[in-house]
Amino acid sequence: MIMNNNPALDFLKKYTMVIALVLVIIFFSITTGGKILFAQNINNLISQNGYVFVLATGMLLCILTGGNIDLSVGSVVCFNMGIGALMLQKGIPTFITMLAMLAVGLVIGMFQGFWVAWVSVPPFIVTLAGMYAFRGLSNVVLGGLSVGVNNESFLAIFGGGANCYVPDLFGNGSLNLTCIVAGLIVAVLVIVMQIRNQSVRKSLGIASSGPGELIRTVIIAALVVIISYRLAQYKGIPSVLIWIALILLIYGYITTNTAIGRYFYAVGGNEKATRLSGVNTKMVYFLAYANMGMLAGFAGVLMLARAGHAEPTYGVGYEMDAIAACFIGGASAYGGVGKITGVIIGAALMGVINQGMSIMGMSANYQSAVKGIVLLVAVLVDVLTKKENA
């Protein structure tokens, strides 16, 4: 048994990527003269990267089942944007359009999941095929053209256009009070739940993991308050933040607290053992890909609102952003290991790097190169720390 007697090293191992994120933020605060922490930039960071959070969440479930990835999501996002744009153009209401886009994504995911789960076609191949096919179909659906969205409510609700913010109920103009109040409520909730949780465990005689957990919760709560204050200084809560938060909360809960969530980890950790434990492992693969399709549909909704129109070239490379966010966030390339919180860190880290370099005025080409290096280093750190344990 390995008993690590060095708490500092333990801490470093556990929070490598959090520390990296903090360092990167400090670095860009210096090089951009603090601009990266401006209210507007924090707002943009969230709005621009909404799709990464959503797609990476779905991708995490695929990766958990054994390092399997879904290459088709970029094309599926684009295909869905096309369908959504056409529906809105025909005057179909916002929520029906959204549901239709989710359904189309789900069906695509189920189609791919079927081959992966029951026919055992390698996911790489199935989704590579999907990547080509839906890119082509995006072109077909859109007739090779750009289709604009005029439905104002669709844009506002899903984070595009000028008014995509939660309206300020107490509005006094300069500072968005709704945003601050919401932030405070969330912060208090987080702390109360943690304390309640700890007291329940204590009463059940379950060993407490020390004050570390509480400290972590307090830091998270503080961050929520700080970010909400920053956002309040700009235009308030961007509506896309509500959607991202909702997705992350739902999937965070599923992965940590439900039986099906547990099965994703189990299948990736040891498929045979899981099957012999009475779990329908094929269904687990199927669900991972079906769900990925549905979330790609939802990412399509967010992107369509943000861009305000659909084009056949949209969504190129999104699958890679999602995959990278998972791996940077500590997911194992062999499956069985990875968390939604890791996805948040991974996606945020990439977003901050993108934005920091943009503000510094560096070209997109360099951004891509840096992202590549960060990905390699992140996985390297993971591999090396694991090796010590071997």
């Binding site: 048994m1 390995i2 008993m3 329940v200 465990r201 059940l204 005689g205 379950i206 060993a207 607290n257 439900t258 039986a259 099906i260 547990r262 980890y265 189990a266 950790g269 040891n270 045979k272 053992a273 899981t274 099957r275 012999l276 434990s277 009475g278 779990v279 329908n280 194992s332 069985g336 290991v337 344990n389």
Partner: protein, 513 residues
Amino acid sequence: MAKIILEMKNITKTFPGVKALDNVNLKVEEGEIHALVGENGAGKSTLMNVLSGIYPYGTYEGDIIYNGEVCKFNTIKDSEGKGIVIIHQELALVPEMSIGENMYLGNERGKKSAINWNQTYAEADKYLKMVGLTESSKVLVKEIGTGKQQLVEIAKALAKNAKLLILDEPTSSLNEEDSRALLDLMLGFKKQGMTMIIITHKLNEVSYVADKITVVRDGSTIETIDNANHDIDEDRIIKGMVGREITNRFPPRQGVKIGDVNMEVSNWTVHHPLYPERIVVNDVSMYVRKGEVVGIYGLMGAGRTELAMSIFGQSYGILTGGTLKLNGQEVKLKKSPTDAIKHKIAYVTEDRKGNGLILSQSIKVNTSLANLDSISNNTVIDKDKEYQVAEEYRQKLKTKTPSVEQLVGNLSGGNQQKVLLAKWMFAEPDVLILDEPTRGIDVGAKYEIYCIINDLAAAGKSVIMISSELPEVIGMSDRIYIMNASRIVGEMPASEATQENIMAAILQSGRGD
């Protein structure tokens, strides 16, 4: 006295959590066949891995002296350069490549940039003849049988100019005839001056082929026995391996109350999943009563695991005939372990790392996996309850770990086995099928596992224990089935069972065919 070609001095090797080798000493004379014997997990394979450089110099303590000089091997290449070649227990051949390609894999003939295929195949054919194979070296490895593949491995070793050949359980997957041929081949090599180390569990082979026998137990060398006349008594070796009298290896059964028949299979026939013409379980009928421990003894490949897994929701093979009765009622299980678990059957695999545990997850997660429903409401897991369950079983089974949050991969073999048992006990089965429950774990942990088995039986469960260790089967069971070549060839109460009459049952069945 002949020259000492190899001396391993005070070798100590530690893995996280286990001291695999503790001050091991081994002396091998030139031109002899030296046998290494010991129980599973005693450290034989580890010792050979140290010798061949798989565990590089610096990761162990002690010295390897070969041909009079201290060796510091960093890779297998280093040791092979000196003529020390190891043939591993698992065949390391690429099925889709030809014999010749396999033999020179990593050791290619000709230039690095241009392989000389003519030379490759010509030389390969030469070595194949030396091991008595008539196949062309252009034949694909997947097209020849296991016995011949083993010979290819030897030819491959010869092609590397082996002076000291190490064979790790070379006959474990061979039939009687192929085994004998291989041993005779070894004796032939010995005449030509080759030195060999053989690791094996088959003691009759040891006495037939070995000149000296070194016994390894719990990571230490116990003794080296001379066998120049090839007449060593097997009990003499066993005594060294086990280290104490066989009688006190098993805890006494208490509160034995054997009840009604709990599970019964009749005329159970199963075919191989990939080669449906092969019968792996042939017309087997057996039963187990409540509170009874039934042993199934058989050698590897006798069909024991196949029988167990096919009962467990047909998780192996194609069931072509037979009925399963639970509590007197005929039951048709769906083709899934889920259904078997629902009917309160549990199968504890022989391959705990491959088929049993999720090494990257905690003890807690592993313990609850087969019965998550019982700690969830509408699929939402009550994690506090889960923790308590895992903790309860940790205490009950005396699993040594700082906490149930520990990753299973960090535990020793014995403790992993306990987690595996905990998982299936938590599934609350009425019938537990334990497949080699003590494979590869140390003597102390074995005793504890035996105690758990006794407790399960005392609690009214039906336990079927599959084992290839005769003393274990005799010491633990109430009743014993003997399995050979896909059939049950004998049944006897444990009180009448001896090593002799069990082996006799197997031999007689062989003659009947």
